[in-house]
């Protein structure tokens, strides 16, 4: 693939992520209850910050991409997810 700098005109390589959006929110989703692996939160997350852990039949959350919108909390049919304030460096 040609290095970007050799391509004339405004072009950037696909999938370039200079900044992660996780810093937007200090509150992050955490599984407190039982995940039934229904995948509702996974499909509704706008950021794709939720992954499927098929071996353990539960979802996992990527805090680096999570903007903290809370849709997953809202849509979980068993109310298994809670937004929890994260400590540490912002």
């Amino acid at each position: 693939m040609k290095p970007e700098k050799q391509i004339p005109g405004p072009v950037s390589r696909a999938g370039t992520i200079p900044t992660r959006m996780g810093t937007w929110s200090t509150a992050k989703p955490v599984l407190k209850g039982k995940c039934t692996f229904c995948l509702f939160c996974w499909v509704f997350c706008p950021e794709g910050a939720i992954s499927q852990d098929e071996a353990n039949r539960k979802v996992t959350f990527n805090f680096e991409d999570c903007k903290g919108c809370g849709i997953c909390v809202r849509e979980c049919p068993t109310k298994a997810i809670e937004m929890v304030e994260q400590e540490g460096e912002r």
């Binding site: 693939m1 040609k2 970007e4 050799q6 391509i7 004339p8 005109g9 405004p10 072009v11 950037s12 390589r13 696909a14 999938g15 370039t16």
Partner: protein
């Protein structure tokens, strides 16, 4: 070198342009009709319908969409052609800037026509001149032969990896576009040897994905603009290279960025762009026979502006008469302004007399050419009088 079997036909410049699009093996033609460009796209449609031209005709609903579609074709890695005039060129204006800034090697044939208001379907060069800041290479042609040849050269120039800028080949309405003359249509094999397949640098490639034609601000934006400027400035060299190679293969040379006629020892030189150079050349001959030291510079490349060749040819000349078929209203003719800027700093610069004429199809007959040259011969060195309208 392939055996050349050109055909010679008595055709209009518009038809010559259509032939060039066919010979250039364009993949897609996306154009919207407007007088006096219409016969270009009508001829192309006929060639395609008759099976003489292998291209797809995209029936776009406006000029804005025409140029956008051409950009899309380029993004997909294929070759596109479009053509327009006047109001159509203006409607495309937004996309002209997109194409140049995005470094799309488009080729557009503009049949130069005046812009409303007043509404006019007849020729002058206001439409093309008004787009001079968009970043397109602009070349003005005089004859049907030159138009055909320049469309072929335009693809070479635009697609050259050192350039990658869109090229506007300009014709004059009616007196050039609709006038028939004997035109040599090159052989396809010879054109194929001159103009290879399009070799893009970047496209919408699913195997090598890029975000193309994106946004930027601050220093990133500036970086790309500097690169664009450098490419535009360098394009002058490539225009000359391509012109020389074309001459070697096809036997026709147009002089480069400017074409000089009887400039040696000239005291007064007329500068003009486009078809009126024909009349001007005849008048120069006539006045030379009378012993008057006059000459003609046909300005072919308007962008990039041929600074060095003009400085060279006008050094030591007493006066230049500039015929502008356009005006930057509120100031003066664009060719005159750019010429003055190009000559800035010359010791003992010529007088520059700006004549605005040939507007909206008005003829500039031989006696008007004589009028301009006589005025130049008697002008005060270094003077730059206010512009004069010469259409009567």
């Amino acid at each position: 070198m392939a055996t050349q079997m050109p055909t010679r036909k008595f055709i209009t410049a518009n038809e010559a342009v259509a032939q060039a699009a066919r010979l250039a093996r364009v993949d897609v033609v996306a154009a919207y009709p407007i007088t006096p460009q219409t016969s270009i796209v009508e001829k192309i449609a006929k060639y395609i319908a008759d099976g003489e031209m292998d291209a797809d005709y995209l029936k776009v609903e406006s000029e804005h969409s025409a140029l956008t579609a051409c950009m899309g074709v380029r993004m997909a890695g294929a070759r596109a052609f479009t053509s327009t005039s006047s109001q159509g060129l203006e409607y495309m204006h937004e996309m002209l800037a997109y194409a140049a800034g995005g470094r799309y090697p488009l080729v557009l044939v503009n049949v130069c026509r005046s812009v409303a208001l007043p509404w006019s379907i007849w020729g002058d060069q206001q439409d093309a001149i008004q787009q001079r800041d968009t970043g397109w290479i602009q070349i003005f042609t005089e004859t049907g032969q030159e138009a055909l040849d320049m469309v072929l050269q335009a693809y070479r120039i635009a697609e050259d990896h050192r350039v990658l800028l869109p090229v506007m080949v300009c014709l004059d309405s009616f007196i050039q576009s609709h006038t028939e003359e004997l035109v040599e249509i090159p052989d396809q094999a010879a054109v194929d040897a001159f103009l290879p397949r399009y070799d893009p640098v970047v496209t919408l490639d699913v195997d090598n994905p890029y975000s193309i034609s994106v946004g930027a601000f601050g220093k990133n934006y500036a970086r790309w603009r500097e690169e664009q400027q450098a490419a535009a400035e360098k394009s002058g060299e490539i225009i000359l290279e391509v012109g020389d190679e074309f001459a070697r293969i096809f036997g026709r040379h147009y002089g480069g960025l400017i074409e000089e006629y009887h400039c040696d020892g000239a005291e007064a030189i007329l500068l003009a762009m486009g078809a009126f150079n024909g009349t001007a050349r005849d008048m120069v001959d006539e006045m030379r026979e009378e012993g008057k030291a006059v000459g003609l510079v046909k300005v072919r490349a308007f962008r990039p502006f041929p600074i060095e060749p003009l400085r060279k040819v006008l050094s030591g000349v007493k006066a230049a008469a500039v015929l502008d078929r356009d005006c930057s209203w509120g100031y003066e003719g664009a060719l005159a302004t750019d010429l003055k800027a190009a000559l800035y700093g010359l010791p003992d610069p010529p007088a520059i007399l700006n004549f605005i004429g040939g507007l909206a199809g008005a003829d500039v007959p031989p006696e008007r050419m004589r009028y301009m040259l006589e005025k130049a011969l008697t002008a005060e060195r270094g003077a730059t009088p206010h512009l004069e309208f010469i259409d009567r």
